[in-house]
């Protein structure tokens, strides 16, 4: 069933080419249809999920290096799979009328992203990791705007470098295991005896940090986002940035527990830096899309900080669990909120061909629904209670501060400052775009169409649901988070 979920979109993409010359309605219909079915299957999997590794498939792929097609879901991957299916559906609805190639590329990307979160084999993980880069390169280069080729090339070069460094780290893990294997389950069960664990962790950490991205490896992100089409940005920020943090929790922590604990403070520092730097740079932006892009650096920083804090000592297990749960919740929450925000900026660009904050003002008057949703998204992003961001960030701060020692307290306190800055910047942005005197381009901004509203409202609605009744999500995440913490504490 899991393999069906993974490969259904790419089969649908091939199906698009079975028609001789499909009209936009056929393309859009097939795309949305495939995404709906895929989401329904993921929801069914969620309902029937019974803990542990579910829906496992383990086939031999390259036996001579002991790499297999090994997929399965657990509490870490299930929420992200659901997020992926939902966000891709939102993009399918939002992008009605796009060409066949665009739809096929997104469907293929959906397969890649689902496959990555389901992979239980390092090589399989890497295959999907690399393909996500190639797919997003073509999205930006083919359908972006502005200086799209340059931004796409920078994105490709930067993240491809990260992926190769990651591959070297994986080879380090492979050679450290006895017998050599790429199987994640086996590697997590008995951590490989790597000759230079610090170096391997560095390789894996840098590879994933580029993808996440954390300061100082984030410089590819703003141009990629600014020049990507709205749906591309939503996927890039909503799904693909998660691959980095997910990889840390799935691969680095369980497989290199000693090294993780030894260098946890480095990860905490990097996390805090990302939180503060991302927030401060976002504060200075004049371009709404760049602003949201930098808040992604800030938000992913919280998740990295939490994972680092989970490696500080072994005494405060409860706090560590809380931190890891918070990190996973943050990934889901950020995916929902940032996906919605990027689609909303896409609406702005669609109408006015600009993201400049100063060109707008008083938009709330002519586009009330747009204004309302942008406000909800901004408040969710800055962590207002009642929305999903609060649940995630509250757990992260509590977990970090409680993780033991003065270091955790200082890191947590510094990270709280990040919330303050994001609150300031979002309120400022809302004021400049939505309120005040109309700007030169405000007149062009008409309200959301029904299609756009159908794409965006459910994302924010779900953020609200998670914010008010988070148990259904936390019940899935918590056992997996506890497992990760126990693996790190070995």
């Amino acid at each position: 069933m899991l393999s069906l979920v993974i490969f259904l979109p790419v089969v649908a993409a091939l199906g698009l080419y079975a028609f001789p010359r499909p009209g936009p309605r056929v393309v859009s219909g097939l795309w949305i249809g495939a995404a709906v079915v895929d989401l329904a299957l993921v929801v069914a999997m969620w309902v029937r999920y019974g803990g542990g590794i579910g829906y496992e498939t383990d086939l031999r792929w390259i036996p001579s290096v002991r790499a297999g097609y090994h997929v399965g879901v657990d509490g870490l991957s299930l929420p992200l799979l659901a997020l992926t299916a939902l966000l891709f559906l939102a993009c399918a609805v939002y992008s009605g009328g796009r060409s066949r190639a665009f739809a096929a590329l997104f469907l293929a990307l959906q397969t890649v992203c689902l496959g990555l979160f389901a992979a239980l084999d390092l090589l399989l993980f890497f295959v999907f990791f690399d393909l996500s880069i190639v797919g997003m390169y073509f999205v930006i280069a083919g359908w972006g705007h502005g200086d799209r080729l340059r931004a796409a090339l920078k994105f490709f070069l930067y993240t491809f470098l990260g992926s190769l460094v990651l591959l070297l780290g994986f080879i380090g893990l492979y050679l450290g295991a006895e017998p050599h294997t790429f199987d994640m389950v086996e590697l997590s069960r008995t951590p490989p005896q790597v000759a230079a664990p610090g170096l391997v962790l560095l390789a894996i950490g840098v590879g994933l940090a580029i993808k996440t991205p954390v300061v100082p490896f984030h410089t590819w992100l703003p141009p990629a986002h600014t020049n990507a089409p709205a749906a591309g940005s939503a996927i890039l920020a909503g799904i693909m940035l998660k691959m980095g943090v997910y990889g840390l929790a799935r691969i680095a922590m369980p497989m290199l527990p000693d090294a993780w604990r030894r260098y946890a403070w480095v990860i905490v520092v990097v996390g805090v830096l990302s939180v503060l730097y991302g927030a401060l740079v976002a504060l200075a932006q004049q371009d709404l899309k760049r602003l949201i892009a930098y808040t992604s650096v800030n938000h992913m920083g919280y998740a990295v900080l939490a994972l680092g804090a989970a490696g500080l000592g072994t005494a405060h297990v409860e706090a560590h669990r809380l931190a890891v749960t918070g990190a996973v919740t943050q990934m889901v929450s950020h995916g929902l909120i940032t996906g919605a925000l990027f689609l909303l900026t896409g609406v702005l660009y669609d109408r006015a061909r600009s993201y400049e904050l100063d060109s707008f003002g008083g938009v709330a008057g002519n586009a009330p629904l747009f204004a309302g949703l942008l406000a909800v998204g901004a408040f969710a992003s800055l962590g207002l209670p009642g929305l999903s961001g609060f649940i995630a960030e509250f757990q992260i701060f509590t977990g970090t501060i409680g993780s033991g020692g003065a270091g955790g307290v200082v890191a947590g306190a510094l990270a709280v400052v990040g919330i303050l800055i994001t609150a300031a910047l979002f309120l400022g942005a809302l004021r400049r775009v939505l309120l005040g005197a109309p700007g030169e381009l405000s007149g062009r901004v008409t309200d959301l169409t029904a299609r756009e509203a159908v794409a965006i409202v459910p994302l924010l609605g779900l953020s609200l649901v998670v914010g008010i009744v988070p148990r259904f999500l936390l019940d899935v995440i918590e056992p997996a988070a506890a497992l990760v913490v126990s693996l790190v504490a070995r």
Partner: protein, 455 residues
């Protein structure tokens, strides 16, 4: 290991030789309009050779005539060389139809392929020289086949370089023979250290030339650009296969006093870096592919350098060779199909023929090493062998080079998808089909690498 002197064990090679001789004889009597029959004959000989090679691969390892080893290295060399040659022969049939020297082309290609196989399967230095010459001399003629200025220049450069490094090779072998009193690889490294060192370096010079490895790489871009497109596909693929198989055998057999492994590692690093740096500025796609094959040769040399130090070295060399061959001929098939040499000549090509454009994208991404293509698995094994063999730094150099190579491969991809440009020109349909087959093959070999590696 079993020894015998049964000529039937060399059936694949005899098929190729027979095809060449028979083709030459037939060509003398056939009218020009019907010389294509020779092409079909040669293709049939290659298919027969492939079948026999496949059958031979099922038997136990042995040595025949005391100088030809039948082991996995030989089986892969045979398979890859014969298959790549078959690809080139089919690719050439259309552009060469009715050419004055159509027959000669097929015969020369077959003979050069025979030389490459001999180089790869021998375990004797003298047979290696014979293979070197058989592989080289037809290739010189092929480079200048069109008799135009660019081709003549390419042929002359190719010949002069080949003769120059061939002399080194002969001198080196003479020294090794004198020092070790035998020409078998098993005796390689016996004798006084200094003489052996000089001898091995001379021997390597010749192999480096065939493999297109720094510092014997200068001919590669010139021949890739100057010779005809089909010949370029051939000489950047087939001789390299034989050369790397021979290099691997030498590296395994060498038992001398100095660190051959380190030397090869340094050469590998220099080769991949120089090839990449030189490829950056190229606007001619054939020259670009020429430099790209140099950088690929650098990656290929990495597992050769750790031969004997890591169990992954042999599968890495053999798998990478097969992956490289299929991907490289695929990229050249697109050049043949489009008939354009300039990067700008590909503007809007994706609109004219989306399938061929996608095939080229797959081949170029394959050369970068993107999964799930074949070269990705080759690179994975290469990285693994390097780290396992204690050359972590070399793996890092190779990784950085792979990233750098993205830049110039994408320079070719981007114009194809440029909007608003019409690509006007004739498409060679046969070459287009072959390009798609190669691209599909590269993905199939990559995804099915488990099956391939098990063979």
């Amino acid at each position: 290991m079993m020894m015998n002197e049964n000529p039937a064990d060399l059936l694949p090679e005899l098929c190729v030789l027979g095809g060449a001789v028979l083709g030459l004889l037939c060509g003398m009597f056939l009218p020009r309009a019907r010389q294509w029959i020779v092409g079909v004959l040669c293709a049939a000989a290659l298919v027969a050779g492939l079948v026999f090679a496949g059958l031979a691969a099922r038997r136990a390892d042995m040595t025949v005539f005391e100088s030809f080893v039948l082991d996995p290295v030989t089986h892969v060399t045979r398979g890859v060389v014969l298959a790549a040659t078959l690809f080139v022969v089919v690719l050439a049939m259309r552009p060469l139809r009715g050419d004055r020297r159509e027959t000669e082309f097929y015969v020369l290609v077959l003979l050069a392929a025979l030389g490459a196989v001999v180089m790869g399967m021998t375990s004797d230095l003298l047979v290696l020289v014979a293979g070197y010459l058989v592989a080289s001399i037809p290739a010189y003629a092929l480079a200048g086949f069109a008799k135009d200025a660019a081709g003549t220049e390419a042929a002359l450069k190719y010949y002069l370089m080949g003769a120059f490094f061939g002399i080194f090779m002969l001198a080196g072998i003479a020294l090794l023979y004198g020092a070790g009193r035998a020409t078998s690889y098993e005796a390689l490294g016996a004798g006084p250290g200094g003489v052996v060192a000089v001898g091995v370096v001379g021997l390597l010079a010749g192999l480096f030339f065939k493999a297109g490895v720094v510092p014997a790489h200068f001919w590669v871009p010139d021949v890739a650009q100057g010779a005809s497109r089909v010949v370029a596909a051939f000489v950047t693929t087939v001789p390299k296969v034989g050369a790397f198989a021979a290099l691997y055998r030498v590296a395994v057999g060498f038992g001398g006093g100095f660190d051959l492994s380190l030397l090869l590692a340094l050469v590998a690093a220099a080769t991949m870096t120089l090839g990449n740096l030189a490829a950056f500025g190229q606007d001619n796609v054939r020259r670009l592919l020429g430099y790209s094959t140099i950088s690929q040769a650098g990656y290929l040399l990495v597992p050769v350098a750790v031969a004997g130090r890591s169990g992954m070295a042999e599968p890495a060399v053999l798998y990478y060779l097969a992956a490289y061959a299929i991907t490289n001929v695929g990229a050249f098939a697109v050049v043949v199909a489009a008939g354009r040499d300039e990067v700008d000549g590909y503007r809007g090509f994706a609109r004219r023929s989306p399938l061929v454009a996608v095939a080229l994208v797959i081949c170029l991404l394959g050369l970068i090493g993107t999964p799930p293509t074949a070269v990705f698995v080759g690179k994975l094994l290469m990285f693994g062998a390097a780290v396992d063999g204690g050359y972590g730094w070399l793996a890092v150099v190779a990784a950085v080079n792979s990233v750098a190579s993205v830049f110039y491969y994408l320079r070719w991809v981007v114009p194809m998808f440029a909007r608003g440009d019409e690509w006007a020109g004739a498409l060679d349909r046969r070459a287009a089909v072959l390009a798609v087959i190669a691209a599909v093959g590269s993905v199939v070999v990559g995804v099915g690498s488990g099956v391939v590696l098990a063979l």
